[in-house]
């Protein structure tokens, strides 16, 4: 095959690991495609890019990307990434995980990493359900939606993730669906180049569990829904972007601020107090 036919994202993939485990119609692969294109755009040296994930379908992303990658424990990708990021200041650390992993079991770590403004990009593929364990309710499942552990419809209020990240002080907050591939690539490119805690929510279908159980059709039906019901509103007040069952979806880049990152705050404080006695923590180069 001529080189002209090689998929441009192939460089980032561990092709020997393909086929992947994701179901037909699943949106995770699309998000990885966008991620690969964003990596190419930023021109980050692969040697200095590390992907950390937790558990679940999206957690398996770490296994398919051809960079130093760490598949950790359920919900704990962010604290692992915190240690990694602080100790590899010259690298870009990306946490790639699903909604259940990052916001249920990992919810506490999520808010504290955003508060500290740790240098990392967190990509949350939100399919509104626990995929790998069979379609249980998550903190982002909309009210009234059916889940295997909500057989009569979810009665709990759902997280508005952009609002949560915003309230905790994240430097960058955005949301797209996997229908918005061009916008997603652009946003990922931007977030990867920024300092501090940057957060991108990516709405994605889970046809096998969420869509089927809620009689919403297949992956294509969901993309049609994303197309019809999405409203692009850059700079939207995150308090107003919560999701209801099959409601309109506000997408865009909502928050961009320049708060100093944890490393910068640490350096500034220690320099101010210890002056010449301060020896900066350099980790490894």
């Amino acid at each position: 095959m001529s080189e002209a036919y090689v998929n441009p994202v192939e460089k980032l993939l561990r092709t020997e690991r393909i086929p992947h485990i994701w179901c037909p119609g699943c949106g995770i692969g699309t998000s990885v495609n966008c991620f690969a294109r964003a990596i190419e755009k930023t021109g980050i040296d692969y040697e200095h890019l590390h992907v950390v994930s937790g558990i679940g379908c999206t957690g398996r992303v770490a296994g398919y990307v051809n960079v130093d990658s760490f598949h950790t424990t359920h919900g704990r990708a962010i604290p692992f990434a915190t240690g990694l990021s602080l100790s590899r200041p010259t690298s870009k650390v990306v946490v790639y995980s699903g909604d259940g992993d990052l916001t249920a079991i990992g919810g506490n770590h999520f808010i504290h990493a955003a508060r500290r403004n740790v240098d990392m990009t967190v990509i949350c593929v939100n399919n509104l359900t626990y995929g790998m364990t069979g379609g249980q309710v998550t903190p982002t499942t909309p009210q009234t939606a059916i889940a295997s552990t909500m057989p009569y419809g979810n009665y709990e209020a759902a997280f508005n993730l952009p609002n949560l990240a915003d309230a905790c002080g994240a430097n960058f907050v955005a949301r797209w669906t996997v229908f918005h591939v061009r916008q997603l690539v652009r946003t990922m490119t931007k977030a990867l180049a920024m300092k501090g805690f940057t957060f991108i929510e990516v709405l994605a279908p889970c046809p096998t569990l969420y869509q089927r159980r809620n009689r919403l059709g297949d992956g294509v039906e969901t993309l049609k829904y994303y197309k019809e019901k999405s409203i692009i509103q850059n700079g939207a007040n995150t308090a107003g972007v919560g999701l209801c069952f099959q409601s309109e979806i506000v997408v865009g880049e909502f928050v961009e601020r320049q708060r100093p990152s944890l490393r910068e705050e640490y350096d500034a404080r220690m320099k101010a107090v210890l002056k010449d006695a301060y020896v900066p923590y350099e980790g490894t180069k």
Binding site: R14, R17, Y46, E47, H48, H50, V52, A62, G63, N66, V67, D68, S69, F70, H71, T72, T73, R76, I78, P79, F80, A81, T82, G83, L84, S85, L86, S87, R88, T90, S91, N108, H109, H112, Y266, M270, L274, A277, Y278, V279, P280, Y281, E282, G283, T284, K285
Partner: protein, 385 residues
């Protein structure tokens, strides 16, 4: 490799065990610590929070113990020597990441300044109740190394040992003090840096593409890399093959888990640190560790003044447990008494190893106060009656 003279606090100090442990970690090359406050361990990280910014290290107080126990592993994979510090209930929360460290062969040091439990137990009072927790706390089959110091001096010396063993064996290493040792003030001699042997990480020299992260290229342990060396490694808590990729089958599990266990168990003799006194031909030998070993030394002294042929075995290495050592002791003495600050944990290992050759007795108590020497002497008299 020798310790860094710019960091080692060479000289005579009057400090407590927690501070000595912190200085030991510094001497061993530890430059990153993640922790969450818990009595009676917190002074270790408080001391490092002061020291680190002056020596190029960093302490981060995480949101909980679970975060701490994986945050420092992120630093280890970045190439740093790192640890976390906690006490019983905190250690209970960390257990999943003890398993992760075992499975990913991450050189991990967990300092556990023990207090009485279960649950919140007695926050400010001592115990030796985590002996079985460190050995069996995480699910699955794996092996750990655990050392228990008896004095502030040993807190310094063996903190260094723990880091060196973590590098060599690439498994979770526990440093098991107890509240008494952690808060005990004593004379600590910190030698010059050139007298402190520090183990280097065995980073692979193989080129990217020629290296498989979990293959054994000679020696007992796989060679390590750190993030950013260009090897594009994958590491996972899942059962994995030599490439580090998930391998979901019984054969891969059996191969991996047997190796994780044997890489420690094949080196029990090398890992055994202990002191045996007057065991040969004794009527009774006390086996103890940590603060209880010091109490037992006094009790043995009292008994010997009463004319009893009593001996003492102080264990520093708790895990892996040395069966051969225990069998030798059983062959040299008529009775064994295990003294520990719990209702019977290490005594089960001693009984198992001795296998009925001599009677094994327990002087135990539920924590909160050290075992009194008089209780050990009374047990000696009871056994010999």
């Amino acid at each position: 490799m020798k310790a860094d003279p710019a960091v080692v606090a060479t000289g005579m100090h009057f400090i407590d065990g927690n501070e000595a442990c912190a200085e030991g970690a510094l001497a061993a090359g530890c430059r990153f610590v993640a922790g969450y406050p818990i009595t009676p361990s917190t002074e270790v990280v408080e001391h490092l929070a002061k020291r680190f910014p002056r020596v190029g290290g960093m302490f981060i107080q995480m949101e909980d113990e679970i975060a701490s126990s994986i945050c420092f592993q992120g630093a280890v994979w970045a190439g740093m020597k790192a640890m976390t510090v906690t006490s019983g209930p905190g250690l209970s929360l960390m257990m999943e990441h003890v398993g992760l460290a075992a499975m990913t062969e991450c050189p991990s040091v967990f300092v556990d300044v023990q207090r009485a439990g279960p649950s919140t137990g007695l926050p400010t009072l001592p115990a030796q109740q985590d002996v079985m927790q460190v050995r069996w706390g995480s699910h699955g089959d794996y092996e750990v190394i655990a050392l228990s110091p008896s004095s502030p001096q040993e807190c310094f010396d063996h903190a260094v040992t723990c880091f060196n063993l973590a590098e060599k064996f690439r498994c979770p290493v526990f440093f098991m003090m107890d509240e008494t040792v952690g808060h005990m003030l004593g004379k600590v001699k910190i030698p010059p840096a050139d007298q402190i042997e520090v183990a280097e990480r065995r980073l692979t020299t193989r080129k990217p593409g020629e290296y498989r992260p979990y293959e054994i290229y000679g020696g007992d342990q796989p060679e390590m890399v750190r993030a950013g060396m260009g090897h594009r490694i994958h590491t996972t808590g899942l059962t994995h093959d030599e490439r580090g990729y998930p391998a979901m089958n019984a054969a891969a599990q059996d191969k991996l888990i047997r190796r994780l266990c044997s890489k420690v168990l094949d080196h029990v003799e090398e890992l055994t640190i202990h002191e045996a006194t007057n065991v040969e031909g004794s009527d009774v030998t006390i086996v103890a560790y940590g603060i209880t070993a010091r109490v037992a030394a006094y009790a043995v002294d009292l008994a010997r003044r009463q004319g009893v042929k009593a001996g003492l075995v102080k264990l520093v290495t708790l895990w892996p447990f040395n069966d051969r050592l225990m069998r030798d002791i059983a062959a040299s003495t008529k009775n064994i008494i295990v003294a520990e600050m719990n209702l019977g944990q290490m005594v089960h290992e001693v009984e198992r190893a001795v296998a009925g050759k001599v009677p094994v007795h327990l002087v135990g108590q539920a924590g909160g106060a050290i075992v009194e020497p008089e209780a050990i002497v009374a047990k000696i008299q009871e056994v010999l009656r």
